[in-house]
Symmetry: C2
Subunit: 138 residues, 2 copies
């Protein structure tokens, strides 16, 4: 499964005309089936010890490319570094105010508080409508 997800993501890059480099393979493989919503920093630290050279800018560049081809989503939902999510079907997020960690929540209309992680102290539920405003569309 992990390999299949990674290959799908790489295919999306290839189809959009991005070159498949050793660094991109490594980053995509690391992110593909990681449900922990890692930060760029975390990915960089996991990959640096490996044989292939890896710079910090490349992690950001590759994540931006993946976002562009809709192979991952950047989650900026709280203070702290942006987190990256390879799961592309619609779902919601549980966010910790303190540590910033995020957990996926399956998409469903109701009930609101079902299936929260064990021991999570819910404070608020917030809806965000994302898109592009009229002035920015011109």
């Amino acid at each position: 499964m992990a390999i299949r997800t990674a290959e799908r993501m790489l295919g999306q890059l290839r189809d959009a005309g991005f070159k498949i480099t050793a660094q991109r393979v490594a980053i995509v493989t690391e992110l593909a089936d990681d449900p922990s919503h890692p930060t760029a920093q975390e990915l960089y630290e996991r990959l640096r010890p490996n044989e292939a050279a890896m710079s910090f800018a490349t992690v950001y560049n590759t994540l931006a490319a993946l976002e562009q081809v809709h192979a991952c989503t950047a989650l900026a939902l709280s203070q702290g570094p942006t987190r990256f999510d390879p799961k592309m079907d619609p779902h919601h997020h549980v966010v910790c105010d303190q540590c910033g960690k995020m957990v996926d929540l399956p998409y469903s209309e109701s009930p609101e508080a079902a299936a929260l992680p064990e021991g999570f102290a819910l404070r608020s539920i917030e809806k965000i409508y994302r898109g592009v405003c009229a002035p920015c569309r011109t």
Copy 2:
């Protein structure tokens, strides 16, 4: 109304034991009935020309204090600087992917897309469950 809101916010600070300084009065007055969700930078630039001295750190400190006493909310919903919201009754937000500006949306269970700003191109609706996770609670 503006004055009343500002005074309520200052009262909340006072009641929590915070001192009421000229800088805090200025920041609170500026934020109180501003529906534009200003950033710390924007508040600083609006206030700097005034007679009272104002440092950047003070803007952040005061906004942190206001958040602590539940007189405002910090909104970190996208890349770019945190925005601050003095409206404390439950509501949702419309966020522009491009410029980061935010608009309030009245709280209602349905329908999803009602009352969006004129010309806003909706891309996704996201639910965020906020709170504190089990490990952070200890």
